[in-house]
């Protein structure tokens, strides 16, 4: 069992690996495998077997020496570790190309991620149904969020110019976890958790690392 004290304590380098293991384990489950050794997992995940054992052992001993890890147990433990069982309510601002792609993506719900609100300043978009939500006026963000919704994460999918303003609005509305898709640097106070997904930067990094390979 994962102690509650462990929650929130895992470092920023480990969490992505845990999520990566989880994806591999879900694939293995679909292939009806029941156990896997760290060596095999290593090949699948492209992470050294040693590191996998270290990562997993740091949460307790759930491998069987001589046998490996029980896949269904492993999945369960990984879900405990990253808190993957609770529903997570999302609010999105900016129903443009990217915004509506996110709202319409069918894969989130089964991962426990659910859009419960969407906002835009464009009157033509207000009132339209996107995925499971009705687009609301961006003016109304604070009231809508504070009034009736229990939002865990706010998503910024507006152009760079408006990104900071949207972040500020989220914070005023009590949303302290923000995912920013705008290719700009957004500042938030220390108590707010901000992550950036910048697709241009991702492509540039990829280009950099593939030079001369």
């Amino acid at each position: 069992m994962i102690s509650p004290a462990t929650r929130g304590k895992i470092s920023d380098t480990v969490i992505p690996r845990i999520l990566h293991y989880l994806k591999v384990v879900q694939q293995l489950e679909r292939e009806n495998k029941t156990t896997i050794s760290s060596e095999e997992l290593s090949k699948r995940a492209n992470i050294s077997a040693c590191l996998i054992r270290k990562d997993l052992a740091s949460f307790g001993k759930f491998g069987q020496p001589g046998m490996g890890y029980d896949i269904s147990n492993l999945k369960s433990y990984l879900l405990d570790i990253i808190g993957g069982r609770e529903m997570c309510n999302l609010a999105l601002v900016g129903v443009g190309n990217l915004g509506s792609a996110l709202l319409n993506y069918k894969g989130f719900e089964e991962e426990g991620l659910k859009f419960v609100a969407a906002f835009d300043i464009d009157e033509k978009k207000v009132g339209k149904i996107c995925g499971n939500v009705i687009v609301e006026r961006a003016d109304n963000m604070k009231n809508s969020i504070v009034g009736k919704k229990n939002i865990h994460i706010g998503i910024i999918a507006v152009p760079s110019e408006s990104a900071q303003a949207v972040a500020d609005k989220f914070i005023k509305a009590g949303v302290f976890s923000v995912l920013n898709f705008a290719p700009t640097v957004v500042s938030v106070p220390a108590e707010v958790t901000l992550r950036n997904v910048d697709l241009s930067s991702e492509l540039k990094a990829l280009r950099y690392f593939s030079v001369d390979k």
Copy 2:
């Protein structure tokens, strides 16, 4: 001047910071600032001043003691470092919600990122214009890519089930840099550079880190 020997040698931890600095510097330029100290940059970028100086000094000395860094020079150096001046041709497979959002996004071109081909298996989508390209049959990927296009990066925007097959096709067509948006683990040989952008995982990591803050 950045020596060509430097290219491709910078570690995976530094490149994202370089790209982050670049974004800040572009913002500073728009604000018509001319110089900035590492201390000020630190506040903007949320990275320690010390680390910023280390990062920048590792490429040469282009700060003025007592003054700080010249913003226009800094931008120029950063572009040299990450190779940001060359055009980068992109091919995308999977013209779904996310795929068409990417094809229609206007911000890539000014960053030197350009879509030159898009593919889908859906006959209804083939022939349609998306952004600047005409959607082609996915069957035709190899011929189209090998025959006429100089593709630097291949983008996977198909459902999980098809992601591995698309990656294999890219590699067969000679595209050795791949960005995968499917929430699944894709295997590629060592000579191929693969990066993953998994939006579900990003949201889950955000949720994890915002627990109890």
